[in-house]
């Protein structure tokens, strides 16, 4: 991949994963109930992208597609290693969805999801710098 292609792919990831994984939770009202937080989390991870092309894609699917395309080019980068860890942590919140009685710490959830976008930004920075 050329550097420009890589940057475009990262921008796409930031748009599809970084942005849409965060928005549903981020813009919940202050006094949102647990069920509202749960619904937002489900949207964030399972219906991350509802595109005008008619597709519904989850966060894991988006991440797999990106990894497949760019892992080889990004492999050596420290920031990419960190991004992988951050995405795994964010995706792990999906396990809570299967357990209806587990409570969701909204602040922790939001911080983990927000970290995805920040980690992608660090990769972009390293690619641009390199």
């Amino acid at each position: 991949m050329t550097k420009e292609d890589l940057l475009d792919a990262l921008a796409e990831l930031k748009h599809d994963l970084g942005k849409y994984i965060l928005l549903p939770v981020s813009f919940l009202p202050e006094d949102a109930s647990q069920s509202e937080v749960r619904a937002a989390l489900e949207t964030a991870l399972m219906r991350t992208r509802v595109t005008p092309r008619g597709g519904v894609r989850g966060a894991e699917d988006l991440w797999s597609a990106f990894s497949e395309e760019c892992r080889e080019s990004l492999g050596p980068l420290q920031s990419f290693e960190e991004l992988q860890a951050v995405v795994v942590r964010a995706l792990s919140w999906a396990e809570r969805l299967t357990n209806p009685v587990s409570s969701l710490d909204r602040a922790a959830l939001q911080a983990d999801l927000a970290e995805v976008s920040a980690a992608i930004a660090r990769v972009i920075e390293e690619v641009e710098g390199g």
């Binding site: 420009e4 292609d5 475009d8 792919a9 921008a11 796409e12 930031k14 748009h15 599809d16 970084g18 942005k19 849409y20 965060l22 928005l23 549903p24 981020s26 813009f27 919940l28 009202p29 992208r49 509802v50 595109t51 005008p52 092309r53 927000a114 976008s117 930004a121 972009i124 920075e125």
Partner: protein, 551 residues
């Protein structure tokens, strides 16, 4: 009050959901099928919608990245790959909206904090750019949307008043900037060519908006002898200088709690610039010969017809004064040739206003009655073959035919707004006079439409075209090189004596300027018999639309 109506253009539905759920004071524009989710998902669909329903939209909220099929992407010349087009699709859509609906406010939104516009050249003009990163930014978005909405409304309101802004994105940006700067205490630097309306805006907009209780005063140093400039600006006590027989208040003291407009600030002598710097720093003035300083609260508007940083580079303006005036408050007023989209609006307004002026109104009433209209029928301008809008019966139409309009559009307008206003006023008056002459001679006029004589427009424009066209020399047939005061000039008939006088004066000034190699003091000796009046000569030189830089 009706809620501002927001059209969301976004490939996803999140932003529309945020508006719908978190901003009850705004209304999403209702969209017909197949649009879903309260938004339009791509550029072509949005442009199609706006073409039919522009009036249903107050503000556009536009996303940057559009993940849509290739065939739904608008071209973006800076982006070659479809991926890149998607990444910056918001800019392509923004440009098209600008082209088709330049009065429509657009808030461009992105969730990407690393958005770089540097590699995509685009003139965002006055559009807001908002970074929406988290829930804390909802208010930022709310403020941007409301500001964009109110700004567009204010433009329409302001245009009905004294100041005509037009709708070009650049002038809207100037208006928005000045509306903020006017309210603060910081000085403002207004840059712009002669005739761009610097003093007019300073008085009618900035001072009015500033809420200051004191007067608006103009500092015109062109007619003040150099040695008296400090006393003129800062005041003097009796006996401070030869001929000083009484205490004299300076402009800073007179303008206390008000606004002082310093015209052609770049021409202030360097030693006076130093004193001016101290006044701006301390908000105190010491009149010449006085022991005590006076506290003053004056908002300074410094105007220059050339970029002040260039004057600094040439050593003509003190860098410390330039920094004190604050380059951050620099506002450039565009020459008319750089805001041609406003020409039609301004031309119409000037003609219609001229017809309402007391000295023209009587003439307009007479013509209106003669063609069977009520005496108080208003005048309206019609350009080319445009149809009269419905409900405009009973108006006196001044018709500018298409070739004449093209001539106006292609003109360079070196005298800017001032020149445009004079040409349009003349168009109004001459057209009404020609109609009245015909009526008096018994020519029966059947229609309330008066065609503006194409030859008149040609003549009105010819003066400045002849002299200001690039590389074109004035029509000097010969001059006596032994006596620079003698000059032979060839003239053609012009529509008014004023136009004739201006043509003569420009040629004479230009001739003197060349003969004395730009020494205004020597020109002042020839013209006014007094070298110290060089500022007055320089001022008149500028007023005639002559520019040192171009000579």
């Amino acid at each position: 009050m009706d809620k501002p109506r927001v059209l969301v253009i976004d490939d996803g539905t999140s932003y529309a959901e945020i508006i719908a759920t978190r901003m009850p004071e705004l209304a999403l524009v209702p969209l017909p099928p197949p649009h879903e989710g309260g938004r339009i998902a791509d550029g072509p669909a949005a442009l199609e919608f706006l073409k039919k329903k522009r009036s249903a939209v107050d503000v556009v909220l536009l996303d940057m990245h559009f993940d849509v099929p290739d065939e739904r992407l608008l071209d973006l010349e800076e982006a070659t790959s479809p991926r890149r087009k998607r990444r910056f699709q918001g800019l392509a859509i923004l440009r098209e909206i600008h082209k088709a609906h330049c009065d429509l406010p657009v808030v461009l939104l992105t969730a990407a904090p690393d958005l770089s516009l540097a590699d995509v050249k685009v003139d965002l003009g006055p559009q807001s750019l908002t970074y929406l990163l988290g829930s804390d930014d909802i208010d930022a978005l709310r403020i941007r949307l409301h500001a964009a909405y109110h700004e567009s409304k204010e433009v329409q309101i302001q245009d009905s008043g004294d100041v005509m802004w037009g709708s070009s994105p650049q002038m809207r940006a100037v208006r928005r900037r000045l509306s903020v700067l006017a309210r603060g205490r910081m000085p403002i630097i207004l840059e712009g060519e002669t005739g761009t309306g610097k003093s007019y805006l300073a008085e009618r907009y900035i001072h009015d908006l500033s809420g200051r209780s004191g007067p608006f005063l103009v500092c015109d140093l062109s007619a003040v002898p150099t040695e008296l400039i400090p006393a003129h600006l800062f005041g003097a006590v009796r006996g401070a200088y030869t001929g000083s027989v009484a205490d004299r208040k300076g402009l800073f003291e007179l303008a206390n709690h008000g606004t002082l407009f310093i015209d052609e600030v770049q021409n202030i002598p360097l030693d006076v610039q130093r004193q001016l710097l101290l006044v701006l720093q301390d908000s105190r003035v010491r009149p010449l010969g006085a022991a005590k300083q006076l506290e003053v609260d004056v908002k300074v508007i410094a105007a220059s017809n050339e970029p002040l940083d260039a004057a600094v580079a040439k050593g003509m303006f003190r860098p410390d004064l330039y920094m004190r005036l604050s380059p951050a408050t620099r506002v450039r007023l565009l020459p008319l040739r750089e805001r041609r989209e406003d020409l039609e609006y301004l031309a119409r307004s000037f003609i219609e206003r001229a017809c309402d002026e007391p000295e023209v109104e009587e003439l307009r009433c007479q013509v209106a009655q003669a063609v069977g209209l009520p005496a108080m029928a208003k005048a309206k301008v019609r350009i080319g073959r445009e149809k009269a809008p419905s409900g405009q019966r009973g108006v006196l139409e001044l018709v500018i035919v298409e070739p004449s309009w093209q001539q106006l559009e292609q003109h360079g307008w070196p005298g800017n707004i001032r020149e445009l206003e004079m040409v349009m006023r003349n168009i109004a008056v001459f057209t009404l006079v020609a109609a009245m002459d015909a009526i008096r001679q018994g020519v029966p006029l059947e229609s309330p439409r008066l065609q503006v004589d194409p030859a008149l427009i040609g003549e009105l424009l010819s003066g400045s075209t002849r002299l200001m066209s690039e590389g074109e020399e004035p029509r000097e047939s010969a001059f006596d090189s032994r006596d620079p005061r003698r000059l032979e000039i060839e003239l053609e008939a012009a529509p008014s004596l004023n136009a004739v006088a201006n043509v003569v004066e420009r040629q004479y000034f230009l001739h003197l300027y060349r003969n004395y190699r730009g020494d205004f003091a020597q020109m002042a000796v020839v013209l006014l018999g007094d070298a110290s009046k060089h500022r007055a000569v320089r001022l008149r030189f500028n007023q005639l639309g002559l520019k040192v830089r171009e000579l």
